[in-house]
Amino acid sequence: MAVMEPGQTLTTISATIAEETLNPGRRLWWWGGFLIAVAFTALFVLAVEYLFIAGVGIWGIDIPVAWGFAIANYVWWIGIASGGTIISALFYLTQSEWRSAVNRIAESMTLFAAAAAGIMPILHLGRPSYFYWLFPIPNTMGLWPQFRSPLLWDFFAILSYVTASVLFWYLGLLPDLALVRDRAPTYRRQLFYGIAALGWTGSHTQWRLHKTAYGLLAALMAPLVISVHSIVGLDFSGGLLPGWHSTQFSPFFVFGAVLSGFATVLLLVIPVRRLYRLEPYITAHHLNLLVIFLLLCSLLLAYSYLIDALLPFYGSDRYERAVAMHRFTGEWAWSFWAAVVLNVVVPQILWFPRLRLRLWLVLLVSFGVVIGMWCERIMLVASSLYQDFMPSAWGHFSGTVWDWSTLLGSVGMAAAGFFLFLRYVPVVAAYELKELLPPAERRG
């Protein structure tokens, strides 16, 4: 399997990719999808506005389950976001050629997923208007944030991650914006893409600098994404709750994040490839590799689940054991078993190479993983909280209509962003594809 189908030239690559952006034609699927996404975004806005008016009481959270959907959504989204960064940064460092065709889609997905993730902790706050108190900025009170809190670590991690992701994405996009600029048929578009391209000419000086900068950023992004998910894991394991207080949470969260990231990338790449007729560039080879990585992450996650489930019974902590039993059989057991089935059991069918190429099946498995990962997040939040140390304080938890609206609305919001990306930005890194051409074919 090749990274690119034969018969491609510099000219065809330029034309295919730039024209998708410049002359998309009448695309009913785009409008349909975008409007649905906008409708869900409206639901999100409604849910958030009512949240700001009435308070977090509109959600199902209580004491003892003081964290609910907002945190689960946050962890879920940030995990999904990891997919783009891993593909574009980590595989850049390993010089995996196949990443070039899918990294733009994956990175853009990262941006919108990270944005959806970044909103959640603010919505989660009882007093969201004071979120800026987490910044260490001089103030008339002479106060500082509390640097020992995993939540503050998380705040900084998200801040760094979102900023770095945007910069990395834009840096990688710059030459392609110039490509679109140079093919733009109207002055307005020339102006738009011209401003966005910032004067990129493709001089060798620029290319050399670009390569250095991109490599440096990729080298920084790779540990950053690992640290972000480790810190997200610490949001939980930094607490003393049975079911949270576990040394394996950081790698566990990285595995889960990458699994959901790959699943989401597959979920987006497969339809985009078809709709944009990108089959020459995103070949079966790409999909096969992505699926294999999905399977690998699924196995890593299975290992984490196994440890998480068995460790309480290896040790002597009765609270850990109780929480493990709640996970297996308690009122949130469905979320545990859904996570196990969707994230671990079902993906095992991808061991069969022939099934890996059945795209509808891969789509289905990926979708299952995305759902399964959300189940895992809510399982970690709810099943550890609702029955912890003091039996007298045990409680219940269930989501309300506003919880679900926020979740679905955030999906709509991220999707709307992604649709705009599809419409206005080259969906594949053209210059990287060109590099993949055999030397003999590198001519126009």
Partner: protein
């Protein structure tokens, strides 16, 4: 910058032409390509970019600054007993220091790239070259600067012509 502009259809010709000109002792040469042409790295003069150093220094400053910020805030400016933990809980300060370091390094890399590349500069005179819009698509351009001490228009033209350029024009035309 003024001199001679040559347009090539393929990477190989560009590289060969550039190689030839360098052998002729010309150094003020710039190439334009739709993707980074690795072979040119060895041929065209290699400036010493301080970008990695810049990123490293920014990262280290971020790390030190991150630690200092936390230590100053938690142990000096307003020391508060938090859950019986030491005021300078250095271990707990690692994650934020790391994140600040990465943020500083990434920002330095990004800003440094634009500063060294002298971007943004939307007006690029080279774009006036006929057909230059294909430089980002499927054509390769070589510009030899007349200011080069060893510049000789005729010699350059004849040297380049060996590599079958699509066109050779004086530039600016």
């Amino acid at each position: 910058m003024s001199g001679i502009a040559a347009e090539f259809a393929g990477e190989a010709a560009l590289v060969a032409a550039a190689h030839r000109l360098r052998e002729d002792g010309l150094s003020r040469i710039e190439a334009y390509a739709p993707y980074p042409v690795e072979a040119l790295d060895e041929i065209l003069p290699r400036p010493r970019w301080p970008l990695p150093v810049l990123v490293f220094v920014a990262g280290m400053l971020g790390l030190a600054g991150g630690f200092f910020l936390q230590w100053y805030g938690a142990a000096v400016s307003y020391p508060i007993n938090i859950g019986g933990r030491p005021l300078a809980s250095w271990a707990a300060f690692i994650p934020i220091a790391f994140e600040i370091a990465v943020l500083c390094a990434v920002t330095a890399g990004f800003v440094g790239f634009f500063a060294l590349a002298r971007l943004p500069a939307p007006y690029q005179p080279i774009q006036a070259l006929p057909g230059f819009e294909r430089a980002s698509q499927d054509r390769f351009f070589l510009i030899v600067d007349a200011a080069d001490p060893r510049f000789d228009a005729a010699r350059v033209t004849s040297a380049v012509e060996e590599f079958a350029p699509c066109s050779i024009v004086p530039w600016p035309s």
